[in-house]
């Protein structure tokens, strides 16, 4: 099927023009994309199940409610940073400074709130504003001087590290005691509240699916059948209620996870459903074509770098809330590697133009599960680093192989 559809030779016999009902419907297109190995989400879901099965067999505590609550708290900060990484990767660029920017912005918030007596809200706003300024600066240098983003953000990686040390001052660490900030990663929804949140998610998904279907039908297009819509809504319902049911056995549904998923949903909408998102994908696919089509390519680039740093700042704030402190190693260690590896493992291409915001969450889950599982097994750091590196390499190889396949399948 995939060969027949991938290299459609123009038929010699003049076939009738394709009437709308003759076009492959949604299910067919999905099968098609799976066959081409391009539906990264499904591939990574299978991978996730395998990883969970392995760790569940190796250690009975892995799939317990307590550990899954821990896991969701562990991936919140990284996943948030990864959303920004996805945006930059979609553009065909890279931002190596996201992890250290998350540390720097968290430090700015911590110092303002804990040492200068600011309230939580203005402190958080200042951290986000600092992130925006950093992103605009880095993006501006990239477009103004035409330097590869890899180099500009590598300079940022080193430079912002210095700024972090400067902000933290002589003590080198700031403890977080502000209750509002502590709550970000310390609050859990339990019982009725958690179930209402899950029900609201399902209802919103059902309503938007029905609305999309209604609009397609009104335009005279093929739309998902009621059965398909029902199956999708049921899947989302099982997932949402299942997550709440499991997490509620322990401390409950973490606010941090709710925040992360809300950000994923919003940015997924921006990428797939707005003009701005379409322009990001167009620039990532073919920047010259985008420029000729009238898209202000440089402005798109600067905005995306700004968003990446803002999301890094948000991730840094979540991380500081979870660890109850900001110190000189905030944003360091393997945070950068994990934040970039996650989306790539979950199918976002390093070559630009292909990927989804959901890959930030899915990839974060995969990387987080591996890391969490190896911690439970008390494996040494040497093994952990090598396994994580191998997983990243495998993901990049899959990405590059998919790209080669596309290139040989396209352009006859």
């Amino acid at each position: 099927m995939s060969t027949a559809a991938a290299t459609p030779e123009p038929s010699a016999t003049p076939a009738p023009a394709p009437a709308p009902e003759q076009r492959p419907d949604g299910r067919f297109a999905v099968l098609h994309r799976v066959a081409q190995g391009e539906l990264g989400s499904l591939r990574v879901l299978i991978g996730l199940v395998v990883i969970w099965a392995i760790f569940a067999i190796a250690n009975e505590r892995f799939l317990t409610a307590t550990n899954l609550v821990n896991l969701s708290l562990q991936i919140a900060a990284t996943g948030m940073i990864s959303i920004g990484v996805v945006l930059v990767l979609l553009l065909g660029e890279i931002d190596l400074s996201v992890a250290i920017v998350s540390g720097l912005c968290a430090a700015i918030m911590a110092v303002l709130v804990e040492q200068h007596g600011w309230a939580a809200a203005p402190g958080i706003a200042a951290a986000i504003a600092a992130g925006a300024a950093i992103g605009v600066f880095q993006g501006g240098v990239v477009v103004r001087f035409g330097i590869p983003s890899f180099v500009v953000t590598l300079a940022g990686l080193i430079g912002w590290q210095g700024a972090l040390l400067l902000v933290l001052g002589s003590t080198g660490t700031v403890n977080i005691t502000n209750p509002a900030i502590v709550e970000l990663a310390g609050k859990f929804f339990t019982g009725a509240t958690a179930w209402i949140i899950a029900a609201a998610v399902v209802a919103a998904f059902a309503l938007s699916s029905l609305d999309a279907r209604r609009r397609r039908l009104r335009a005279g297009l093929v739309a998902a059948t009621p059965v398909v819509v029902a199956v999708r809504v049921a899947a989302v319902a099982i997932l949402s209620f299942g997550v709440v049911a499991i997490l509620d056995e322990d401390r409950g549904l973490p606010l941090a996870l709710v925040i992360l998923i809300a950000f994923v949903v919003v940015f997924d909408y921006i990428v797939r459903r707005t003009r701005f998102g379409r322009h990001v994908l167009a620039v990532g696919g073919n920047a010259e074509a985008a420029r000729r089509a009238g898209i202000r390519v440089n402005r798109v680039r600067v905005i995306v770098f700004m968003l990446a740093s803002v999301l890094a700042a948000c991730g840094g704030i979540l991380g500081a809330s979870r660890l109850l402190a900001v110190n000189q190693s905030s944003g360091g260690s393997d945070l950068l590697l994990l934040a970039i590896a996650g989306p790539v493992i979950a199918g976002t291409s390093l070559f630009g133009g292909r990927g989804t915001v959901w890959s930030a969450l899915l990839g974060g889950l995969v990387i987080g599960s591996i890391s969490n599982g190896m911690d439970l097994l008390a494996l040494p750091s040497s093994t952990k680093f090598m396994v994580t590196g191998a997983v990243l390499l495998a993901a990049v190889v899959v990405d590059a192989a998919a790209r080669q396949r596309r290139q040989s399948a396209g352009r006859v």
Partner: protein, 276 residues
Amino acid sequence: MSATEHSASDGREPLLALRGIVKRFGAVQALGGVDFDVRPGEVVGLVGDNGAGKSTLVKVMSGIYLPDAGEYRFDGAVRHVRGPGDATALGVATVYQDLALCDNLDVVANLFVGRETASGGLGGWLRALDEPAMEQQSAELLQTLTVRLPSVRQEVGLLSGGQRQSVAIARSLIGEAKVVLLDEPTAALGVQQTAQVLALIKRLREQGLAVVVISHNLADVFEVVDRIFVLRLGRRAGVFEVGATSHEEVVAAITGAEFGRGGDGAGQPSSAEAAR
């Protein structure tokens, strides 16, 4: 196109007319006072050897180059075209040889890139795309042009060369184009796909568009165009009605050989073509 129809188009005012266009690059004169025009419902072939000034002339039409002298007339009035945006606003669409498609996006997204239909949303850049409207318009447009694709939701990178060319040409019609400039539309295409694209060009003419085709392939030019405009060394070397000329006559104009020297005139250019 029959001769009667053509003489009718002769009576019509040119839609796009260039008068006395001069373009210099330093000491090199790429265009030395060229007159050119194309009428609605007419396909003009722009031919010439390498360095004859074809690309320069097309870039003047599409607003990329500003001429050093001469007039740019559109719909009977002199226009000041200062950039590609001005030409696009007049209704002059260019399909570049590299097609300028985004391989990662589907057909609908490519047709509308840069001028997406939006509805609702937060306004400005965060306006929500109206996918059903764009998909419907895409399907209608492709049906009018009888362009056959597996699906309008197919990723463009997975289409064949002829289909990609068809998408690139169809895209120029999304923005109410009146003049379509096609740069080497059949280069790098196989026989069957070339036939597809030539058929599409004929349909553009049926829709009343003015079409300019730049091509090295005289066989294609003779099949699809009404008039052949020959450039040689930056000047007009002749304009030929397709019904009233021969390959040899056009080739002679391209190479500057005297027409009528029989075998010589025909042999020399084909070796020039081969050398290319």
